[in-house]
Symmetry: D2
Subunit: 381 residues, 4 copies
């Protein structure tokens, strides 16, 4: 029996992190708001109490806390307390914050990567598995309709047995030394973890490949670089992948690829066809069946299936954005949370990344680091 049984209306949401100047906190807030399924009512938006209060006030959040433990305790006690919390701190705080809420039965929607260290990830995993609460990880790219379509295409067998998986996520914003808040903590292993580009964007690429293909990675060989002087974490990674069943692949992530903004791209080739999807033109999915003309499938366009339609809000031709895909993760989570109120499983089709995806991401980062230290030897992630 859920402690939120009987609740009605929008899900009351809290937020930890995301004070003024943060990028991802604002994204989470919009994502929560877009479909009208959440109401943000409490926050510990900064580890600096005054900043936390000012941020909450500026955002019109009724209840502001000076620290997340106090928040967890107080909210858990309230009859109208939060039902879910968004964790948008730097990576090293994900675990401590999330555990505080999970143990009180409050659902957690957490930014990625899961944590800064593998040890901390394991602690969080245990907490998540023990808790009577959901743990949602915002691998937001899986919220794009055409990513759902791609997964359905693979699952349908349209590509046949898979052979080759190419995934990449180049960015250019850290090509020169960067001195803003976003770059600073990402380059501090204590806060970000030991993975640089691998943790920040490589995990997204890895998760996307896993999500669409469904294939496990049996081994990887990684060659990491720190190109910019003073950089402590990798800012470029070349990774060779071996999947179960014999498929092979490559993953490239980079934060020094000048000219790229957020160029996540996945290409999959099987015996009977190929597919290609790119985040910067997310409405399009290329499907190339063997021996037939190339097909460009568009969101809600002719030939697009129900999986993409389930998470679409507008007809074809209305470009979807990053925020809408992010909102879909929130709304999928909302479906699961509402079902949880009544002790039920989420409705059919509801899909969101969870603790297992987070653990896989951590294993990926760890494997990349281990492999690279051993001169790109094959390791098991």
């Amino acid at each position: 029996m859920s402690r939120f049984a009987g609740r009605e209306g929008p899900i009351r949401l809290g937020m930890v992190g995301g004070g003024s100047g943060a990028f991802i906190g604002a994204v989470h807030r919009i994502a929560a708001r877009l479909d009208g399924k959440y109401q943000l009512v409490a926050g510990a938006l900064s580890s600096t109490p005054e900043k936390a209060r000012e941020s909450a006030s500026a955002l019109g959040i009724p209840r502001s806390y000076d620290d997340f433990t106090a928040m967890a305790k107080a909210e858990a006690r309230r009859r109208d307390g939060i039902e879910a919390v968004a964790v948008v701190t730097p990576n090293h705080m994900h675990g401590p914050v999330a555990r505080e809420f999970l143990k009180r039965g409050i659902h957690v929607i957490c930014d990625k990567p899961l944590t800064a260290t593998l040890a901390e990830a394991r602690r969080l995993q245990q907490a998540a598995e023990k808790a009577d609460a959901l743990f949602v990880l915002t691998h937001n790219y899986t919220g794009y309709p055409m990513v759902r379509e791609a997964r359905a295409l693979v699952a349908s067998g349209a590509l046949g047995r898979l052979r080759v998986v190419q995934v990449e996520y180049p960015q250019g914003w850290m090509a020169a030394p960067v001195a803003n808040k976003q770059a600073e903590w990402r380059n501090d292993p204590a806060r970000s973890g030991a993975g640089g580009s691998t943790g920040d964007i490589g995990t997204h690429a890895y998760n996307l490949a896993r999500f669409v293909t469904g294939l496990k990675v049996e081994a990887l060989a990684a060659d990491l670089s720190e190109f910019v002087e003073g950089r402590q974490n990798d800012d470029n990674a070349h990774v060779m992948l071996r999947f179960e069943g014999g498929a092979r692949g490559m993953l490239w992530c980079s934060q020094v690829a000048v000219g790229h903004e957020n160029s996540l791209r996945l290409r999959v080739y099987g015996e009977k066809g190929g597919l290609e999807w790119a985040q910067e033109t997310p409405t399009e999915l290329w499907h190339t069946p063997l021996g037939e003309p190339k097909r460009l499938i568009t969101r809600m366009g002719a030939g697009a299936g129900p999986e993409a339609a389930r998470v679409s809000r507008t007809p074809a031709g209305h470009p979807e954005g990053f925020l809408e895909a992010f909102a879909t993760i929130y709304s999928e989570a909302a479906e699961a949370i509402l079902a949880h109120r009544e002790g039920k499983a989420p409705p059919e089709g509801v899909t969101y990344p969870g603790i297992a995806d987070g653990m896989e991401g951590m294993a990926f980062i760890d494997a990349c680091l281990r492999s690279s230290r051993r001169n790109a030897a094959w390791v098991v992630p």
Copy 2:
């Protein structure tokens, strides 16, 4: 002194039209919600009272009315009544509904085209000009950051004196007879007005060209068609344009262009350069300065200016969507509404389409019809 002087918090919003099954009502609701500046508290969502109530209940809207006049009266009397209303009915009702609210000092955010007839448009114009309330028309494409950038580029003189303006808006969804609700009222002159594709999408194209170039159209010559049997309004229009100052252009809109979804596209050429923007890849703006390599400017990317940044929510590389551009119109309107509370002008830079744009759109439709009836003679819009 505004009747809403002293109000705080999100703007209380009502909605007329937009019951279940409607497309644009849902878009307006998301747009209003996205930036957290509105709260939807009342509605007359359908002209069928039962459907109105059911829709309001399903959407969690607290106050449902059976008809818009009752709504206008009741809300105007409430201390916590709505401050603004979204009008998302079929075209013929825009005027009657909007006037009912305007005359009570309630701001109106109205879908386009302005009305079904020019006569009705003039009545609405008078009402809007007399009212102590804002009138906002959702020519939503002007909410795209790179459309703002394009306008700034022209205004900066970077293109020099303009010569040629090519704008087009092809769709394909009405290529065969369509039997859904969206198509039905669009094909009924009594509800849609006498313009078909000209009114539904031609006005968007016209508005976009006007918005970016700033040039008035002095004359146009239009050749309208009804290709699909049984269609009463035009489903394809070819229009030649003559702008003040000597620039020439073409406008093409179509709802029978199979293969197109929502392919609004603008190209402008001046003495010193050209630009190109397309709605289906809205994050990109091509700028082609005379004698230099082509430049691809991206939202928040290198070289993009403050006008685009003002209406952006995320860093470069995070594709923006239709809903975000639409939300920008709502948020620009919110800025103006908040300033109006205090009897002030909107903050610098705030830009949204209003009654004058609506009148221009109506004049465009009317001119197209007049010209086409006279075998594409030149007429003044």
Copy 3:
């Protein structure tokens, strides 16, 4: 019985015009050479005898003439004289030169537009119809394999009854006053004819639309401009088209569209589908069948038909160029010339533009000028 009956080996070719510094002469020479079906053996490459001789010598052409009449006479007398002549002079000389060779039974391969004036065109038409020699007009874009594919697609009925035809050919190279040889004669009505952009590139666009759709134009309304100071001929044209059977269209050609190089593009929409082809990515043809995903057909790729394969030289993925399409016109002509040696019709499938296409182009230019002088009234081309 052909006067060249019994000849063997490559076709002996002459050239009039195309001396050093000319653009199109060099293109014709490469086109003639590419498939090895011609041998250039004689020329009157310039109206300045010395320049003619120097050019011929530099190009290794064995026989140089000071003027084209002398050349026609001498070559016609030789046992090893030329069998065909390429006419690559400015427009006003096409007719006089071509007639001189046609009347001696020498095949003519002539650049477009046909002539500088309609009167001259009619004289040439008579000469061509009377002569026992072929007249080939290098509307080279019809040599692209995917243009052949597009035509076959329309002819197959895959698009159903046609409704809308959009064709455009923007260039930007004359956006500022241009002082080179190419621009100079194009801007001299005496040499170029009264059509500017209409004659130089509009005729190509018109021919392409005609070639692919097979539809005759019943009426057109044209609005021509001369944007650059000192320009005597149009440098921009907006044209509305009405085709037989009810299809409507637009043609835009411009030489002041900064940022465009040679952006010939055709889009055709019918009841059952659409197609799009662009000269700058000539290997691709979009086919958008109603109710199905968009298809990208590539030269020699899956789903491409025999018409494109007939004029292809390499497998899929090897981009074809302008020169190859131009060479195809030469090679199609060669097939016809070889058949003519034996008094036969060309082999099945052989297709090249001829005198009728030339006359249509002239009628198009003339109609544009007549219409524009009458304020874009509808005229019959």
Copy 4:
């Protein structure tokens, strides 16, 4: 003193291999013909004498030989003998054929890869170094103008010190078992060599990266696959690269990537900018300078440099093709051959791939095989 001193006119060319049904022989013939600098006068087009004779006759080649040794001897003795020979046999015959001509002072233009085995490559290298004749290897992609432009851009320092090099060459034509002549010998290690996709297309990718960046590869780690049953040579290769000076890269080549035709693509990132070039849109080069809008440079367009112009034949906007790039290799070789007649060095700027490039390609194949056998260990190529 060259044995061809004093010759004039086009270079007399012979061909070994390339009989009817061969793909690459026809390409070489067009390439030789396109710029009019060669004349094909002799051939041993097949190892089957009858087929050799029939092919020569069909092509109008005056002198046909039953075997290449006889051809080399006879031609070397003739006063009007060939000055150069094109070697277009399967890989295992490149060496034996080329040596036969080189030792007689006849220039060799040879298809790639250099030979089928490293041992044979070394023999050919010795022969080439000893001979008073040129050895040209048709790594044809270096003939594209925008590849020249890319190289010049890197050399100019516009990208700064290089960091990341991504090159790929996916094809899909061997995704299913293929039973034609092209596929057959490629899958026979005795004729093709031990490299499959690595030899056939990986060498092109490797050469392109080397050509543009100028950087040597210090080590590579390769993971090769044979996905299609019965395939003896690799049909997919993932390779990590380490360049001198610290740059890192990846090379992917595949013949089972369904949906790709000939998708050679290079991306280079340095401290100050990036570039991207793709073979299927060869006219375009992206240059992305740090902190500035992306630039699209086009062949002969604004901002393109003299290196691209040197090897261009038409103005901007006239798409260039595969055959034109291939012809450029022939024409560059012709420049060198003409200079060699007079004992001179080639004119400034003349660039073509030679024996050293061939040896590098062989070392690449060999290194890939060695690395893959050792589970993708790093090896020195």
